[in-house]
């Protein structure tokens, strides 16, 4: 491979890495929980990959507290930890769970919903952390 071509490929790679995709998301109405909050504990580590392609693990043993709901599902906030999803930017994120599966993320800093391309089953048990 010629020197010039290597340089072009190198630059293209650098540029590509520097231009991660923006996370697909839309504004959403969040309804805070009114009753007794409940907590879920994750039984097995689950990997979730939003539209940006950056995979995140939902760790086994991590606890998530129900804080409200969206039209898409219930919203769970991590207990004692911070959880983020990323693309071109980094977003603090809560899990949105419907029928036992993670269907996306609620981004509290933007009041937006970022859907997952497909629902991911989340094995959990209920109980206080």
């Amino acid at each position: 491979m010629g020197h010039a071509r290597k340089l072009v490929y190198g630059l293209a790679l650098t540029l590509g890495l520097g231009c991660a995709a923006e996370l697909s998301r839309a504004p959403v109405a969040f309804t805070p929980i009114t009753g007794e909050p409940r907590t879920l504990r994750v039984k097995e580590t689950v990997s979730v990959t939003p539209s940006t392609g950056y995979t995140r693990n939902i760790r086994a043993g991590s606890a998530w507290r129900l804080v409200g709901s969206l039209p898409q599902g219930e919203v769970y906030r991590p207990v004692g930890e911070v959880f983020t999803v990323e693309g071109a930017n980094v977003h603090e994120a809560y899990l949105v769970v419907a029928q036992g599966s993670v269907v996306g993320f609620y981004l509290p800093g933007e009041a937006a919903f970022a859907p997952l391309p497909g629902a991911v089953p989340l094995p959990t048990e209920q109980g206080a952390p």
Partner: protein
């Protein structure tokens, strides 16, 4: 030999080492106001990209700079925030701050085309507190009282509890 030693010294000179350590500072910090939270910004003393230092913006206003081996903090009303550093590529972190909550944002340098990029990421409290131990305070001097750090650049609180 002399040249390489001079180069190493010049690199190390970019690291913060003389400021107050976190443990000393913590004992003199005022309690948070009931409607406020605290946001730490820090950068570990990695030698990589030591010359790349950038201003850090919180909701559009400069609150400090990313310096290797340094940390500072601001106290803000609960609400929604976005933070970014002023380098070639601007990568934003969005998050919420609850009353009484402390958030930790670490900056690090990654490779860029012309210069390195300063990136920000949210960090868990346990990890951040350990890393803060060895870092030096780079905020305003004297340590700002909680009241001085308050500003109106936060959006109204509207978040999950």
């Amino acid at each position: 030999m002399k040249k390489s030693m001079a180069a190493a010294f010049a690199l190390l000179a970019g690291c913060v080492s003389g400021g107050m350590k976190h443990a000393e500072l913590k004992s003199s910090m005022q309690a948070l106001k009931s409607e406020e939270g605290r946001i730490y910004f820090y950068r570990t003393g990695s030698i990589f990209g030591v010359a790349v230092q950038a201003d850090i913006y919180l909701n559009g206003a400069v609150v400090g700079a990313s310096q290797p081996g340094g940390f500072f903090y601001v106290e803000r009303p609960a609400g929604k925030y976005e933070a970014h550093a002023s380098t070639e590529v601007s990568r934003m972190v969005t998050f919420t701050l609850d009353p009484g909550e402390t958030k930790y944002i670490r900056s690090y340098v990654s490779m860029g085309i012309l210069v390195g990029h300063v990136n920000l990421e949210l960090v868990n409290a346990d990890e951040a507190e350990k890393q803060l131990e060895s870092l030096s305070y780079t905020g305003p001097s004297p340590v700002p009282p909680a009241a001085a750090a308050k500003s109106a650049d936060a959006a109204p609180a509207a978040q999950a509890q």
